[in-house]
Symmetry: D2
Subunit: 136 residues, 4 copies
């Protein structure tokens, strides 16, 4: 059982959302922040770094946005729905842009970009699922 | 002249926005992140901390969102308009929620919350101004 | 297999350290940052929040330091040993202080602080293990 | 008067250090985090980006470490001296490494790296001054 799940179980107040979806979204955000940070660093090691500049920039933006989203969702005791919705929407944009770019490089044989794309798509889906629950 | 302004002047590529508005928005984001971090800490020192719990939570959310917004805007060489817009909208939500809460405490004599409210409102306005330029 | 592990496997350059230890340290840092963020939020929900003020502050410091450490370690392609050592030492200090404080509350029946203490101790050990490898 | 200064003046508890030195250190950390973030982005726009890879990596590390240091120092109500010292030492390492690298590029005519080097050196000095006060 992850810390995120244990922390949620022992929290006296929480958001009116499915707790498995919330745990998955928090974990997907932190995992994506890490993958994007590592992807940017690995891209900087490539000989064709000049062709990866957009990928690096989107990695950096996505890492920051995911991290903030993971933090805001970790503070779920007394949620502000409008703020959470806006943060989730920004995260979906960041993951979509970064995921698309990484998929392109992944299709050209860069396996690490493929891993990062997967982290972005998982995070995007988790944020969309949360957004659906908040809208309901 | 601030570093933000000097960095912008020496940047070979940049966003098609008024550079003074961009510098102001970057600075307002970083300043607000600092003010909110300090406000949360100061609130934790108050005897009536229980009444300040919402203020502390909004301070923490606002600090994270402002910092990410300041970073995304500092990477302005090859902007992704949809991502920037979504990030600015999240920042406006965070600053509005935190600014309103801090204003309430400011009216009850907590001068430090008044300072933080000012930082939030300035940041909210700067983000709105940026959003207006991007929409144009 | 975690993203951190997959990212490391597909990285062309890397630190001269045991890769399992590096993956564990990166994951422990991000997990601890999340646990501390959630712990601070949960503490703010407690009736006796006034007695938890030191715990909240250490949670916030520890979350920030762990996150930065996890990011610096995720950029392992061309490591700067002195910088990494200093960052690991700061992380060990943060995890030790926060872990000790959370253990105290854990012993008094706060299960969530016990979970957070575990995350801190795991991160502290992982940072110590990394430090040992860098010194060798 | 900066927000940092106003926040400090209205804080009921604080560190036993010179408040002007504390304000300067907090501001220097946030300013350096911004300058390093912008420097990394500007370096990514350069034709000779391959020669700037070390600069970009140090910019990213320095931005994260400075931001965390600025946040830890902004929470000065109930300081943990050992933790603060370790964080300041990590920040000094990050600013020294990044400042040296940026100075090299600054001497070769990259004015923006010169600005960033200045932000790093100012932050390094401010952290050293704080460290001196804590040791006293």
């Amino acid at each position: 059982m992850s810390y995120a799940e244990q922390m949620l179980e022992n929290h006296s107040e929480t958001m009116q959302v499915d707790s498995a979806a919330l745990v998955e979204c928090i974990r997907a955000c932190f995992d994506c922040a890490q993958a994007c940070t590592a992807c940017a660093d690995a891209c900087l090691s490539e000989e064709n770094v000049q062709e990866l500049v957009r990928c690096i920039r989107l990695d950096l933006d996505c890492a920051d946005v995911c991290e903030t989203t993971g933090r805001v969702l970790s503070r779920h005791a007394a949620p502000e729905p409008e703020l959470i919705r806006a943060v989730l929407e920004a995260c979906i944009q960041a993951c979509d842009a970064c995921g698309s770019e990484c998929e392109t490089h992944g299709r050209h044989g860069m396996e690490r970009c493929q891993v990062c794309a997967h982290a972005c798509r998982r995070c995007q889906e988790a944020c969309n699922a949360m957004l659906g629950q908040l809208a309901a």
